[in-house]
């Protein structure tokens, strides 16, 4: 059946590869520039330090390249779900839409075996696409990872197991939605919305910060706001000011006090310092990165397995 699967899905696979290439071109160009900048400034020696000279060099590097990471990367969140939309959504939906299921499901192979062969082969393809995408971004981010780690959500989503897990999940979700809606384009649209809700709102915002209880610490109020260097690869989940007895201030209070400081002619940080306030932080330490990755990948693998099971049940009655 592998010939048939290739023949039917080669356009989707080629379009996915094209998407990967389209993403790769700007990443390779800026990645090469970023690496040479990193070497020229001698930033390797600065990883983990925060002496003034290093802070200055880091500032230069950040000005030049950090914007890339912040502006380009969020858009790449769409790549896994686009792989899923291209390969998964039409898998069954197009057969129903074009009525070719009448041909496919009346041959000598049961619908279950037909679906199993397709899902297995194409899952392998999307896993490879996801892994390729991960390798690309990890290569590109290497200098930034050296300086700021890879635990912050804007990076975490693109390294380790996540892009591959997201891609597999998007593929399975696309197939499922295609069986339910029986039309390719509505299935693609619904997949996009459902993927956003599950992957971002449900898992990233709601669940991920709770995988393990965050640690907290306090810093002098006048400490420079934790820079990409001071972060040392931790994921800062929350932060603010607290008073001398350890009560955390609300945003309104902080604003009011900051205005008071400015009226007194002081910088807010210096004023907070003088009046005995501390800066508090909660964070997930860098060494939890792989624990988090494994937990989240397991969640998406579990959801994918569940969706596959439901899809197999539904396809029995799809005609």
């Amino acid at each position: 059946m592998s010939w048939l699967i290739w023949r039917q899905h080669r356009l989707a696979v080629l379009a996915s590869l094209l998407l990967l290439v389209a993403v790769a071109v700007p990443l390779v160009i800026s990645g090469l520039a970023m690496r040479s900048g990193y070497d020229q400034l001698g930033l390797a020696a600065c990883a983990g330090h925060s002496d003034p000279r290093c802070l200055d060099l880091l500032g230069q590097f950040s000005d030049q390249y950090r914007g890339w990471g912040q502006q380009l990367l969020p858009w790449l969140n769409f790549v896994p779900v686009l792989f899923g939309a291209l390969v998964g959504a039409p898998l069954v939906a197009r057969e129903i839409e074009q009525r070719t299921y009448l041909l496919a499901w009346t041959q000598g192979v049961t619908r279950r075996r037909w679906l199993a062969a397709k899902v297995t082969a194409l899952a392998l393809v999307v896993v490879l696409l996801g892994a390729g995408f991960t390798a690309l971004i990890t290569w590109w981010r290497w200098p930034l990872d050296q300086l700021e780690g890879h635990f912050a959500p804007t990076v975490y989503d693109f390294e380790g197991l996540m892009p591959t897990a997201y891609t597999l999940f998007a593929f399975v979700l696309g197939t499922f939605v295609g069986v339910v809606l029986r039309r390719t384009v509505p299935a693609m649209g619904t997949l996009l919305a459902a993927f956003f809700v599950i992957r971002y709102l449900l898992v990233e915002v709601l669940l991920r910060p709770r995988f393990e209880a965050p640690l907290s610490t306090t810093l002098r109020a006048s400490a420079a706001r934790p820079t990409i260097l001071a972060g040392a690869g931790n994921w800062e989940t929350d932060g603010g000011f607290q008073d001398a007895v350890g009560r955390r201030l609300t945003a309104d209070e902080v604003n009011r006090l900051a205005r008071q400081a400015i009226d007194a002619g002081l910088s807010p940080n210096a004023w907070f310092q003088q009046h005995g306030y501390l800066r508090w932080l909660t964070y997930q330490p860098a060494d939890r990165f792989w624990t988090f990755q494994v937990v989240e990948a397991a969640i998406f693998l579990g959801l994918s397995a569940l969706l596959v099971a439901v899809t197999f049940r539904l396809i029995r009655r799809a005609a």
Binding site: R99, Q107, G108
Partner: protein, 248 residues
């Protein structure tokens, strides 16, 4: 009729419901091996529903279908191997060439007679290199038939095979069907909402109306029981008369 007594197809108490609506209800009949049956009825009578249950494309809500003594189910690969199906409007992968469609058949069937399909298509002068989407409706129907026959089925099921064909293509298609029935010992069921064209090829008649089977049996027997001088068309029309419905 050969092999009288051995049944190719037995339906008992067959029914299928969509929501609260029964598309087909209480349908029971037997079709002997080697017969060619016409399933006739107005649009929406439940013909396609009955055919999809017969070929295991859908599972019945009630009752069962037996094919050569074996319960038909879409989950049974061996049962699927016994049927050849040509769907209404003969859907094909439009981007596939005819040769690729044959390769698909080979990939999806353990029993596959490639030579048979190639000979048929060659005789009809349908080039293997052509994409299915560029073929005429009649040619597409013939490709579908060739794919169905190359499975070497024992039951051939055709859903409104003539509806979208012009008169010449209809004639050719019917010729092709009756020829292969003679040479390959097939049982055939085909549906139509036009009666006249079936008379020349069929020996069995089933009339379906509003989800119920009104009459089923050998045409000769049905005509003998009918007033003298009646033809098949008159017989069917009489069964479909509004007043003739069986209560319940």
């Amino acid at each position: 009729m050969s092999d009288a007594g051995r049944s190719a197809l037995v339906a008992s108490g067959l029914g299928r419901r969509f929501g609260r609506l029964w598309a087909l209800r209480d349908c029971s009949f037997e079709l002997p091996e080697g017969s060619i049956a016409a399933l006739v009825g107005p649009n929406g009578a439940g013909k396609t529903t009955l055919l999809t249950l017969t070929i295991g494309l859908a599972e019945p809500t009630a009752g069962r279908v037996e094919l050569f003594g074996r319960r038909m189910s879409g989950r049974d690969g061996a049962a699927l191997a016994e049927i050849g199906f040509v769907a209404q409007d003969h859907p094909l992968y439009r981007g596939f060439t005819v040769a690729e469609l044959l390769r698909m058949g080979r990939a999806l069937n353990r029993r596959w007679d490639e030579a048979l399909a190639r000979q048929r298509l060659e005789r009809l002068e349908i080039p293997l290199r052509r994409r299915a989407g560029t073929l005429s409706g009649g040619q597409q129907a013939q490709v579908c038939l060739a794919l169905a026959l190359a499975k070497r089925p024992r039951l051939l099921v055709l859903d409104e095979p003539l509806a979208s064909l012009d008169p010449l293509a209809r004639r050719e298609f019917l010729d092709a069907v009756s020829q292969s029935v003679r040479s390959e010992h097939l049982t055939v069921v085909f549906s139509s909402h036009v009666v006249t064209e079936l008379e020349q090829v069929c020996d069995h008649l089933m009339v379906l109306s509003r989800g119920r089977l009104r009459v089923a049996g050998p045409i000769g027997q049905l005509l003998r029981a009918a007033p003298s001088g009646w033809g098949v068309e008159r017989l069917v029309l009489d069964e479909l008369r509004p007043g003739s419905e069986v209560p319940g």
